[in-house]
């Protein structure tokens, strides 16, 4: 492989270059306001070395999958929290499909005097013993233990799964109707202990669909979300939906969702929350309820998105790509509001006389840049450059810009 590279480099060492610098996505290079330098931001990549990389790449378009692609999810599940006392008194849950899967997990008891790392995991002693569960079916029949379950797993059987310690789960037997059930335990559990009840209604005809138009947003940019309930694929009227946006650090921002004529709910507002102080994605979470015959159709849903600061921009069209001993270089000028590690990416095309462009390589360079302006040099290694035929030229395009310190895709 190494020998091949050397031979290639000898063959192309005498190449004469004829290039222009151009950008396929010039529209994206327009100046936009950067995040105020006064705003404190976290930095997760503090490497100071400049790193250059290039490789052959024949994909038709490096940024074919745009950053504004919608993201969708559909939910047939819901969850809620109850206390030990609630479980002893009896809690109701609704199903609209046969064989709903129920999971019951004891939750950690938060001790405000202790840091997060010292918070204790729930004890398996708090697990709900399915044998001590009483289930009242929609027809009013009271069943004991596992009688109404087609499948059941206790906390011991589930201890090697990713679920919380003490989790137990069961499926309602398909012989029983859908509708409102009551769960009640005769077990001695602490009144104040919290439990999560999670219902996966996999065979229900109802699905809550949630769509975000854009999974990557800057401050001030409009977020557009649509929530609709489908019954067997047909939109049905949603009665109530509440939602919030949750930061990577866990801060909750309630949002107002508005009903539309189609029966769906929408959220369409610019986002102006403070930036998170840690990496990770934000989430939009919704809870919905709709009456559906003898039971209530409940659904929870969530979708992740990036909410990021605009910490840098490409200043203007870069100067012409130029040949060097190492290959072909192209300098990109950028302005930066916050010191950090920034990566510039670019794609090298061969353009035929008739204007047809074909990508042949990509180059990436990352370096640490202090607040202000700097240039980042892309290098397409000589071994990647074929001899040009008559009338052909090189073109560097699809310039991308990433803030590796904040994990922001800027361009």
């Amino acid at each position: 492989m190494i020998t091949k590279k050397i031979i290639k480099s000898i063959i192309f060492s005498g190449l004469s270059f004829f290039m222009v610098a151009a950008h396929a996505n010039d529209a994206l290079l327009k100046s936009t306001e950067l995040t105020s330098p006064q705003q404190a931001l976290f930095s997760i990549n503090n490497h100071r070395e400049t790193v250059q990389f290039s490789r052959a790449m024949t994909d038709t378009d490096f940024s074919k999958k745009s950053q504004t692609q919608p993201v969708k999810t559909e939910s047939q599940e819901y969850w809620f929290r109850v206390s030990g006392n609630d479980l002893k008194q009896g809690v109701t849950l609704d199903t609209s499909g046969v064989e709903a899967l129920i999971r019951i997990s004891p939750k950690s008891m938060h001790d405000p005097r202790l840091p997060v790392a010292k918070q204790s995991a729930p004890s398996t002693n708090l697990a709900i013993d399915l044998e001590q569960l009483e289930i009242t079916t929609p027809s009013g029949k009271v069943t004991k233990g596992i009688e109404a379950m087609s499948f059941h797993a206790n906390s011991k059987q589930l201890e090697t799964t990713p679920f919380e310690k003490g989790t137990s789960a069961f499926k309602i037997d398909k012989a029983y109707a859908t509708g409102r059930y009551q769960l009640k335990t005769s077990q001695s559990i602490p009144d104040k202990q919290e439990y999560l009840i999670y219902v996966l209604d996999k065979n229900s005809p109802y699905k809550l669909n949630m769509t975000l138009d854009n999974q990557q947003l800057f401050s001030g940019q409009n977020m557009s979300a649509k929530i609709e309930l489908k019954k067997s694929g047909i939109t049905t009227n949603l009665e109530s939906v509440s939602g919030n946006i949750v930061s990577p650090g866990g801060k909750v921002y309630p949002i107002n969702l508005t009903a539309s004529k189609s029966g769906a709910f929408k959220f369409e507002e610019p986002l102006d929350m403070p930036f998170a102080n840690r990496a990770g994605l934000w989430e939009m979470r919704v809870v919905s309820e709709t009456q559906g015959g003898s039971s209530t159709i409940k659904r929870n849903s969530k979708l992740a998105f990036a909410f990021q600061p605009k910490t840098a921009r490409v200043n203007k069209k870069s100067k012409q790509a130029s040949p060097s001993k190492a290959g072909l270089t192209n300098a990109v000028n950028i302005s930066v509001s916050h010191a950090g590690r920034y990566e510039v990416t670019g794609v090298l095309y061969i353009v035929d006389r008739d204007g047809t462009a074909k990508s042949i390589a990509e180059a990436r360079t990352a370096k640490w840049i202090e607040q202000g302006s700097d240039k980042v040099e892309l290098l397409f290694q000589k071994s990647l450059l074929p001899a040009l035929k008559r009338g052909q030229k090189f073109k560097v395009g699809n310039i991308g810009l990433n803030d590796q310190s904040r994990m922001s895709r800027l361009q």
Binding site: T160, P162, G250, K251, G280
Partner: protein, 284 residues
């Protein structure tokens, strides 16, 4: 003889420079490991696979904190450090990487973000191929279910609950974002810089009368059969087949190559079950 000796030395040096020094790295999945050889892969699996190397001591079993986000220093940083040391200490110039589960995402992070860290380009240049066994390339609904209902403790500004950052990252809509923006190799995205091929686990069998259910531990089979309830019919108990096939190319679905056409559960696909070790050995 005195005249020949320098020529012989030159010949040996020249021969060595032409011969690739092959090595294998075993990259574990979501977990913090200090002894992945014994705790995650088992020596029986690793020793059987590396028997296919020209020098069977040329392997490294990675031990990192893969409960963190893939890009962090304890995850990808640690992986880069251990692979770099392995390459340098053993003069490896052809590295095969075998990953399991979320290990595929951490490796894919390195391959997709070559300028993130100065160690990454050399790793990419040396890696000849990645074999991703049961990789969680598109995330898993099980991660969504695990994270669901976690309490947000505003006083602490932190999430209380069982899920680690790695589990959060493997939620399906999170992986949509990372695949579309920071990772390569999924549908519609540019290809990875090295070959990345997947082995798919398609089912879980836990019949107590079937001896095959006991490979890698019967209790794990029972648990994975339970968690299959959250997944598609084609799944290994932790991941849908679609997720495992979500990046790079599919090498094979378990039953097409395993002994007795047995499916590989998520637990079995990191152990020497149903000739998986032999298949991997013959591929070196």
């Amino acid at each position: 003889m005195k005249i020949l000796s320098p020529l012989f030395v030159l010949f040996v040096l020249f021969s060595n420079s032409l011969m690739a020094e092959k090595g294998v790295a075993f990259v574990h999945g979501t977990s913090d490991n200090t002894d992945a050889l014994n705790d995650y892969w088992t020596p029986a699996m690793v020793n059987s696979v590396v028997a296919g190397l020209p020098n069977s001591s040329n392997y490294v079993v990675i031990n990192c904190e893969f409960n963190e986000y893939a890009w962090t220093s304890p995850a990808a940083g640690c992986l880069a450090e251990q692979i770099t040391n392995f390459i340098n200490n053993n003069n490896i110039d052809e590295l095969k990487v075998i990953t399991h589960s979320h290990g595929a995402n951490v490796m894919r992070w390195i391959l997709s973000n070559p300028t993130w860290d100065s160690r990454y380009p050399a790793i990419i240049a040396t890696t000849s191929e990645v074999t991703a066994i049961a990789g969680s390339s598109l995330g898993t609904p099980l991660a969504d279910a695990v994270v669901a209902g976690n309490v947000f403790e505003q006083l602490l500004g932190w999430i209380l609950g069982y899920a680690s950052d790695a589990v959060r990252m493997q939620q399906t809509s999170w992986m949509v974002y990372y695949n579309n923006n920071w990772l390569l190799g999924t549908n519609g995205r540019p290809s990875l810089p090295v070959s990345f091929k997947s082995i798919i686990g398609s089912d879980v069998e836990s019949a107590f009368w079937d001896g095959d259910s006991y490979c890698a531990g019967y209790q794990y089979q029972v648990a994975l059969e339970i968690t299959q309830n959250w997944l598609d019919s084609c799944s290994d108990g932790f991941l849908n087949c679609s997720s495992q096939a979500g990046a790079g190319s599919v090498w094979f679905y378990d039953t097409s190559r395993t002994k007795g056409r047995e499916p590989l559960s998520h637990q079995q696909s990191r152990r020497n079950c149903f000739n998986l070790d032999t298949i991997l050995r013959n591929d070196l």
